[in-house]
């Protein structure tokens, strides 16, 4: 029997609200080992092909204590939390963590990993459109594969990798479908629900998760489109947490019609194209990634893509959730502000800090923004 919209939403929201518990449950159920993938991008498919549960590490609301010894206060909020959680032993049950180096902060975090599980580092090439970038990243991914094999004590076959790439392309297509369907259900798929559903993907077996999303899409379509009389915005940034930020959107009756959030749509909007070698496919996916502040692009496709996204989703404006002390994002803000002013689209930039506890200022700014829309 098909499950109801509410049933599926409740399940995924419970996962997003209790990541540690969800990961333990998923591992117990499948007998898999968990491998952490530090934000923003890592080749999850390699861990999946190794028979592991890839787990996304995106920080969280945690009191910063230990990290104060290791990092100055002007490191980005998300990496402060990751280091804090690592130092507190939260990630010790992981079999390994994979750490990318797309910005100066992550380069350093990778080198000073404070967790007990082994860390595997890699670097994304930034001159992404050249063939040599594919060669380089394929080598980096091969190194991750070899190290993971040594840690896990088993081979990761080409066949398993090719299957994982194909499966992840399917997962990504389903997720894109979900974000389209969600636009017709803005009352049910509220900002908090939308975010929680997308976030749950990091703490579940992708096969089970993908099935849940397919069932959700089916159930939503069966229920038929909903009317929405509130305002509509597109979100952009690295993450749009803590939850209180989304509660403010809901308080002012604002729906999310689309996102360019690294933790959300940036994860699944680019497929891995076909290559004979599955690792080359994964490398080509990074080459094809566009519109992300962390993927070098002198043409700033992100700006055009965001204008298009606001228009095609009939949003009233753009909300930039600017991760505190994230310079790749900060550099894009003036360019976005100028382009959106030219396009006549309202834009609001608010600071995102995972450790914030006072939201009154943001609430006032959002209220002003919504009233002006």
């Amino acid at each position: 029997m098909k499950r109801s919209v509410n049933e599926i939403i409740e399940k995924l929201m419970a996962v997003a609200a209790n990541p540690g518990q969800a990961v333990k449950a998923a591992c117990a159920k499948s007998g898999k080992q968990a491998v952490g993938i530090v934000a923003p991008y890592g080749p999850e498919e390699i861990a999946y092909a190794a028979g592991c549960l890839p787990v996304g590490l995106w920080g969280g609301q945690v009191e910063l204590k230990r990290v104060r010894a290791y990092l100055p206060a002007f490191a980005c909020s998300i990496m402060q939390s990751v280091v804090e959680l690592a130092a507190a032993g939260t990630y010790d049950e992981l079999s390994a963590v994979v750490i990318p180096a797309p910005c100066d902060t992550l380069k350093c975090i990778g080198q000073k990993w404070k967790g007990k599980c082994p860390a595997i580092h890699f670097t994304h090439p930034m001159n992404r459109k050249l063939d040599c970038a594919n060669d380089y990243l394929t080598f980096e991914y091969q190194t991750i594969r070899t190290k993971l094999e040594a840690i896990l004590g088993r081979k990761i076959t080409d066949e398993a990798l090719a299957d994982a790439v194909l499966f992840y392309n399917h997962y990504r297509a389903v997720m894109r479908e979900f974000t389209l369907v969600a636009r017709d259900h803005l009352a049910t798929i509220s900002p908090i629900v939308r975010h929680s559903i997308l976030k749950a993907s990091y703490f579940m077996d992708k096969a089970e998760y993908t099935k849940d999303i397919e069932d959700l899409i089916y159930a939503l379509r069966r229920a038929g489109p909903e009317n929405w009389n509130g305002k509509r915005v597109v979100l952009t940034g690295i993450t749009f947490e803590p939850r209180e930020l989304l509660e403010i959107l809901e308080f002012y009756h604002v729906a999310v019609t689309g996102d360019d959030i690294a933790q959300e749509s940036r994860q699944f909007r680019t497929d891995a194209p076909y290559h004979k070698s599955p690792l080359q496919s994964l490398a080509a996916q990074w080459q094809n990634q566009q519109g992300c502040s962390l993927a070098f692009d002198p043409f700033k496709r992100r700006v055009h893509d965001l204008v298009d996204l606001v228009r095609t989703t009939q949003a009233d404006g753009l909300v930039v959730g600017l991760m505190k002390f994230c310079d790749p994002e900060e550099y894009d803000v003036p360019i976005l502000m100028e382009a959106f002013e030219k396009a006549g689209i309202p834009l609001l930039c608010i600071e995102v800090d995972q450790q914030t506890t006072a939201f009154e200022q943001i609430k006032t700014r959002l209220q002003g923004f919504v009233e002006a829309l």
């Binding site: 010894a69 290791y70 990092l71 100055p72 002007f74 490191a75 180096a101 797309p102 910005c103 100066d104 902060t105 380069k107 350093c108 975090i109 990778g110 080198q111 000073k112 580092h121 890699f122 670097t123 994304h124 090439p125 930034m126 001159n127 050249l130 063939d131 040599c132 970038a133 060669d135 380089y136 080598f139 980096e140 502040s293 070098f296 692009d297 002198p298 043409f299 700033k300 600017l322 505190k324 002390f325 310079d327 790749p328 900060e330 550099y331 894009d332 803000v333 003036p334 360019i335 502000m337 100028e338 930039c349």
Partner: protein, 411 residues
């Protein structure tokens, strides 16, 4: 130029003359329709030099502005444009300058193209993206992947080398001329020789007392940044070397009017808005800054004609090394220049300089028993520095170094 006789000039006079001339040449070239490139400070200058493109260096330009106290108004302009004050001060000042084209220092012509190499930091990627996008000009990039392991991999080097071919194609397209391989070969020889001359001269800091203060080295750095592809650069450093050798033979210390009582390594970029203050406080305690990562940063030596070796040199420089590589580099500097202490600049502008300081400090303290102090500052934004904090920290460091000297004496 014909009236200038380098033989009659000191290295300092040559430095001042050549740095000013380099900017003047670029301004004149721009006025006559020539091409001007803005380049990051440790990018391969060899390509543009071979094609007769005038290259100027935003980082160096901002240093001139910041050291003359002209950064605040440009920083304010950048912040009005929406740039967060968390972003690198060099970038903020430069992006504002690109907009207003007016500053307290030398005026720098706007670029027709930009060249970046991210071997010093990733912030350059975004900074130069913004320049290229705003001015709608070509961007040339040599992307050097971060060496996260202790060795520089062949794959990293091969990737960097392959990008050189793309730069050559881009330059042929931009200039509408075939790439000048003969000139390129000649420039490679000059650049590699200049790197060696720079390193040889600054390595004389190892003499006791050191004939060169690191703060003077900061000034000479302008030349290796801006003119690494030109022969006059090496002539100046050979002259500097001869001058320093003479001073070393006569036991003349690089601190003007003070005796060298302590030798320290300065870890990080200079605090340009307060260069004089940072220097004088040290001098008043008889502290000579003799160790720095700068000499090796531009020691980009390779066999001319060997593109693979050239790629390896650019991707192996200090900032692009793993934590272990960075610790090893600093320990060898401390050893070679006989430093008794370390000052770490917690530079609000540079995450790459700061975020490994804790681990580097721990390793250096444990391996070498060298006292360390840190201070808060900024390479361009004067708001992030406190004179009182710096003075107190230096006093404490000097006390620790005195203590260690006494202990050493007792033993």
């Amino acid at each position: 130029m014909s009236e200038i006789n380098f033989d009659e000039m000191t290295s300092k006079q040559m430095l001042e003359y050549l740095v000013a001339k380099n900017m003047e040449d670029a301004r004149q070239a721009k006025a006559k329709g020539g091409l001007v490139c803005w380049s990051s400070s440790i990018a391969p200058c060899e390509f543009c030099e071979a094609m007769g493109i005038y290259t100027v260096y935003p980082e160096n330009h901002v240093v001139g502005i910041a050291a003359r106290g002209g950064a605040p108004e440009l920083l304010a302009h950048a912040e009005r444009k929406g740039y967060s004050n968390d972003i690198c001060g060099y970038a903020r000042v430069n992006l504002a300058y690109m907009d207003v084209q007016k500053c307290i220092s030398e005026e720098m012509p706007l670029p027709d193209l930009v060249l970046l190499c991210n071997n010093i930091c990733e912030t350059l990627l975004k900074w130069y993206e913004n320049i290229a996008h705003t001015l709608n000009i070509p961007l040339l990039i040599v992307d050097v992947p971060y060496n996260h392991e202790s060795e520089v991999t062949e794959e990293n080097v091969a990737y960097v080398e392959a990008q050189f071919k793309r730069i050559i194609e881009q330059l042929e397209d931009i200039t509408n001329r075939p790439f000048d391989y003969d000139k390129f070969e000649e420039v490679m020889k000059i650049a590699s020789q200049n790197a060696k001359d720079w390193y040889d001269a600054t390595a004389l800091c190892s003499a006791v007392p050191s004939p060169l203060s690191g703060f003077d080295m900061f000034n000479y750095m302008a030349l290796i940044v801006c003119m690494r592809g030109k022969a006059e650069c090496g002539i100046t450093f050979r002259k500097l070397k001869a001058e320093l050798e003479e001073k070393a033979a006569n036991k003349i210390c690089g601190l003007k009017g003070a005796e060298e009582q302590h030798r320290i390594m300065w870890d990080g970029i200079a605090c340009w808005p307060y260069l004089s203050h940072t220097y004088k406080v040290l001098k008043n305690h008889g502290v000579n800054m003799v160790g720095s990562t700068y000499p090796s940063a531009w020691a980009l030596m390779y066999t001319p004609g060997d593109l693979n070796g050239m790629a390896r040199a650019y991707t192996s420089m200090g900032n692009n090394l793993s934590l272990k590589g960075q610790i090893d580099l600093r320990e060898s500097i401390i050893r070679d220049t006989k430093c008794g202490g370390v000052i770490m600049h917690m530079n609000r502008s540079c995450k790459m300089c700061d975020f490994l300081q804790h681990e580097i400090g721990e390793a250096v303290t444990s391996d070498m028993r060298v006292p360390i102090t840190t201070f808060d500052g900024d390479q361009a934004d004067p708001r992030n520095y406190s004179k009182a904090q710096y003075e107190t920290r230096i006093e404490a460091l000097v006390e620790m170094m005195n203590e260690q000297k006494r202990e050493g004496g007792d033993q």
